[in-house]
């Protein structure tokens, strides 16, 4: 199956979360299957090892544990990135829609002013998040999302340095922060 490079009309963080929970369950199930096979020791039935599991042959239990810890770590990192990227897409779609519709509410006016000034070079933090805050979205909600931008930057650039995030994040934390911001966008 080829990946689709079509634009997403209605990005949605719930679908990211459903994907994460499904993948986490698949990883958990696979982990349990591999441990069941390992428990058979050298009496293992070669047919019990599925093609994609052949890479585990000869590994010890602690190496298998490390492998699955890594899988969960990758999955969680990628999920946090996907949640943040999807939230950015939602905000940018809102921005474009409000600019195009020429609505008279405070947020739409601020978005139009930013668009008039910067055209297509709208920045998430300085233009969209700042406008949301000025239009009345609670400071702590905007600040919490701003805090995740460092996480997003770190994930997007391959995590090759020690990030100064100020706190730890789980996919659940990021979902909560993103949802709170999306739900706070004035109608």
């Amino acid at each position: 199956m080829k990946p689709s490079f079509e634009p997403r009309d209605s990005p949605d963080i719930d679908s990211v979360w459903r994907w994460f929970e499904f993948q986490a369950a698949v990883v958990r199930e696979e982990h349990e299957h591999v441990l069941r096979v390992l428990a058979q020791g050298s009496d293992i039935d070669a047919r019990a090892v599925r093609t994609h599991e052949s890479q585990f042959i000869g590994l010890t239990e602690s190496e298998i544990e490390r492998f699955f810890d890594d899988q969960r770590g990758h999955l969680e990192s990628f999920t946090m990135f996907e949640l943040l990227a999807t939230t950015e897409a939602i905000l940018r779609i809102q921005f474009k829609a409000r600019v195009a519709k020429r609505l008279r509410d405070d947020l739409s006016r601020r978005f139009r002013a930013a668009h008039k000034l910067k055209g297509e070079k709208i920045r998430l933090d300085e233009d969209i998040l700042a406008a949301l805050k000025e239009a009345g979205v609670a400071t702590k909600i905007v600040a919490a999302f701003r805090g995740t931008l460092r996480l997003r930057h770190w994930l997007a650039h391959g995590r090759h340095w020690h990030p100064k995030l100020g706190r730890g994040y789980t996919p659940g934390d990021v979902l909560g922060i993103a949802r709170e911001l999306i739900d706070s966008i004035p109608a």
């Binding site: 096979v37 020791g41 050298s42 994609h52 042959i57 000869g58 590994l59 010890t60 298998i64």
Partner: protein, 127 residues
């Protein structure tokens, strides 16, 4: 496992007989402890090969490994190469060299050529 490892070391010594006799390669064994879940801690011999300033060790990893009867790692400054003992279709168990793990495992029977390749991988490449 101990018997199986000793058989492996005998095989390795046999394959390297000429180099050992000419003193190009020196060999010694020493005891090491292996701790495994469900099995506990036991003592088992490790094999050390020295070629000039280069040194590699054959270190048993255990019997509780997935889909194999045993595993010994060849550890050197360059890399670690895994040997696993697997049951063949004829019912015999043979030592094989793991050539790659992903996307699928690929192994080669342990013979003079695959041992040479494994030792070259484990040792630091010549400058």
């Amino acid at each position: 496992m101990v018997q199986s490892v000793e058989n492996l070391y005998s095989l390795v010594r046999k394959m390297l007989r000429k180099s050992i006799e000419s003193k190009a390669v020196s060999v010694r064994t020493f005891d090491m402890e292996v701790t495994e879940d469900y099995v506990g801690t036991y003592t088992i011999p490790a094999l050390e090969l020295s070629v000039g300033a280069e040194r590699v060790e054959f270190r048993p990893k255990g019997i509780m490994v997935l889909g194999a009867e045993g595993r010994v790692d060849i550890r050197g400054a360059g890399d670690t190469v895994t040997l696993i003992k697997r049951a063949e279709e004829n019912g015999n168990s043979e030592w094989t060299v793991v050539l790659q793990r992903v996307p699928h495992i690929r192994t080669a029977p342990l013979d003079r050529d695959s041992l040479k390749d494994a030792l070259e991988r484990a040792m630091l490449p010549l400058p």
